[in-house]
Amino acid sequence: MDRPVYSEAGSAKGLSLLPAPPAHPPLVEGQHPSHGLASLFSSWRRGTFQRGVHPAPHKGTLDQPIKRMPFPRKLVLPLAQHIGKPSVPLVAVGEEVARGQLIARADGALSAPIHAPADGVIEAITPRPNTRGAWTDAIVLRVYEASTQEVRCGEPLDLDALDHTQLIAAIQQIGMVGLGGAAFPSHAKLNVPADKQVHTLIVNGCECEPYLTCDYKLMREWPAELLAGIRIALRASGATRAIIGVEDNKLDAMAAIRPHLSADGSITLQAVATKYPQGAEKMLIKSLLGLDVPNGGLPSQLGLVVHNVGTLALLGRLLPRGQGLIERVVTLAGPGIKKPGDYWIPFGTTLRSILDWAGDPDCKEREVILGGPMMGQAASTLDIPVSKGTSGILVFDKRMLEPITKQSWACIHCSECVNACPMGLNPSQLGMLSAKLEFDEMAEHYHLGDCFECGCCSYVCPSHIPLVQQFRAAKAFLRERKPT
């Protein structure tokens, strides 16, 4: 085994903000020596962060297992499903492909390949709407009606025989990207630069967005794969310990994971408060370790790397088999969905085929949301396909949208937004500045750049002012102006 070994002293080097890593991480579930009152007290002290909001969970199908959706007739696979350079197609129009076959290769280090999600024939390589609704190059695959669910491509890998470079390359070859929503190529995140040290892997099992249950179900059904994925990620990143952070309303998931934890205590499970946006990287780090990621900084500055449970569960499942990432668990929910639940949906399945199968045709004036209701994007067309970053598809109807759009008032300085902003900003002031188009003032004196657009301010605003929406516009304006 060629895994890089870091000394304790080395892992803390250059991390002035971080005290030496604690020998025993605090509040370790399942590992904690239980002595009466102390353990009772620790159960109250769930890790948390300041402010945030408590939207109703709306997690309706928790008791159902993950199911499969039938293959649609056609799959549309955008070449840019991830952050970084788009993939390069390896197939020609008219070519037959098998489920799991590599059909587009990664273009450089910050890119990911694409595998065929079903048996079929390549119909076209042409611009199609991607997840954001923009038309970009995509591979259109006509699915054979008899396409099997079985994956016959891919050679099992002996992970222990791989050195660090080979391991990173293997993770890239299966097309793994962050499934939490950002779709950042996983191998790039795990490949810590030589001048940086990562000592702790944070595993994000919060799933704080209302409605979404896909991560919860993966934790419950695939704990062994999740732990396998964590061990791979530990090796790849060089971290010496992993902490799985799960919101304390997901006790089933925690119970499912606990028997799989390592005996040596290098992987621990920790409950954190159920509060939105607990799943935001900075908030989770604050809740688990009590550390503030410096503003404008990354978790790696503190020697941390954060991965989503869904990513690691699939990594642990696919990498040992050498299979590509071709489908994911997607939550279908909302009043406009007739068959709510969590489904394995192959990439490239369009919203239209999903709604034809699971949607409510009577739902009028619907809004289709990709992701969670707090940060997800509304789809502009039903031709948008499910891609690697799609965690949920929610269909809201008119009744749910009315309260927000019916009427708005002037800011009454109620300070609810200030008391909700997890970043400690002043959304009220930012909102007034943005109404006056004072974007520079917002960035220079009111920390606009620290806003990560969680939407808590707009969620609580009793005047129904679109706060975060204006901040997004302000940031876009400043970004576009920058190069000139």
């Binding site: 909001v53 004036e365 289709v368 209701p373 609810e416 902003c421």
Partner: protein
């Protein structure tokens, strides 16, 4: 297909809901004052509220904006203003106070949310300057005929001097009534009012100021429902209490006892319902604490060292004026900010 930018959920709370609950919380206070002062109090509350609603609607018409009566803020202004006026206040003067409150205090600045000063207090300050005698003429509570006849001054003809009420006061004499508030009696006679009179409402005072206990209960309702920022009343009352204690301990008997300071005058009404006015108080947590402490401190300074017996109104107006500055210099602490 509908297209909206996230978030696609909302807490469901809106401005009218908040304002409506403030009105609900004030209803018991109104009921108590009607029980104490009878018809005059009822008529005063109704008149002032209606004049505020009229002023608001007329402003809407003149400026061509939507009807803002439905946001309930003019109702709050009216009810709060009525509660700060003496029960024997002539109704026509109450109407003037209401019109001034809404026009000068709010509409002139662009309506709800844009006003720098608490409209009810602007109205009150105006009539205090305009009608100095009427606003310091106090009537006894629990007069036997209070539910069948008005206090004579209430029905003064518009633009006339208030009717003399000395004959009515003599006829409705209640034990211990002197026509002066507890704070005035301390200031001029060094008389210490008994605590129980100040809690049960027997002391002479403005319509809604008489029962500190009731005000606290109503305030707690708003705090429990999260319609009120608890930090403001805590900071106002806390700073006033600390200062009063310090003066009493180190300054000796020439300063009033602490209970007199806390239970009398508009302190409770002001701390709970006036200083907490959202539009005119700061938003940043540190600014909120500073704002409350300034109001409490200025109240004590006016009462102890100023010519007035009562200081809450001007203290809150002073705090309102400082609120934007406090917000500017005491911004919230940003997550992950570099420590200097």
């Amino acid at each position: 297909m509908q297209l909206r930018a996230s978030p696609h959920l909302h807490s469901g709370r809106d401005v009218p809901t908040i304002m409506r609950h403030v009105v609900y919380a004030l209803l018991p206070v109104c009921a108590f004052s009607i029980w104490q002062y009878g018809l005059s109090s009822l008529a005063l509350i109704v008149t002032v509220t209606l004049s505020c609603l009229f002023a608001e609607r007329l402003s809407n018409k003149l400026s061509g904006t939507v009807n803002t009566l439905s946001d309930w803020s003019a109702t709050i202004t009216g009810v709060l203003l009525a509660l700060t006026l003496p029960p024997a206040f002539p109704l026509w003067m109450g109407a003037v106070a209401g019109l001034t409150a809404v026009w000068l205090g709010k509409s002139l600045f662009g309506g709800l949310g844009h006003n720098p000063f608490n409209p009810a207090l602007v109205g009150r300050a105006f009539v205090q300057a305009a009608f100095p005698t009427a606003i310091t003429t106090w009537a006894p509570a629990f007069a036997p005929q209070r539910f069948t006849e008005f206090i004579p001054s209430s029905l003064t003809l518009p633009l006339m001097q208030p009717n003399d009420i000395s004959a009515w006061v003599a006829a409705n004499m209640v034990d211990g009534f002197t026509g002066a508030t507890p704070l005035a009696r301390w200031k001029f006679e060094q008389f210490v009012y008994p605590v129980e009179d100040m809690i049960t409402g027997a002391a002479s005072a403005s319509t809604g100021e008489t029962s500190a206990l009731l005000l606290v209960v109503c305030g707690l309702y708003l705090i429990a429902r999260k319609f009120m920022d608890w930090r403001i009343p805590v900071a106002v009352v806390g700073s006033a209490l600390l200062l009063a204690l310090a003066f009493r301990l180190f300054g000796g008997d020439e300063y009033p006892p602490v209970h007199l300071v806390l239970l009398s005058g508009g302190l409770m009404l002001g701390a709970l319902f006036m200083a907490t006015d959202m539009a005119t108080s700061p938003v940043s947590p540190r600014a909120v604490w500073a704002y409350g402490a300034i109001i409490g401190t200025v109240t004590i300074l006016i009462r102890y060292f100023g010519g007035l017996t009562e200081g809450v109104m001007y203290a809150i107006l002073f705090g309102n004026a400082l609120a934007p500055l406090l917000d500017k210099y005491l911004q919230p602490k940003v997550f992950g900010a570099h420590k200097k």
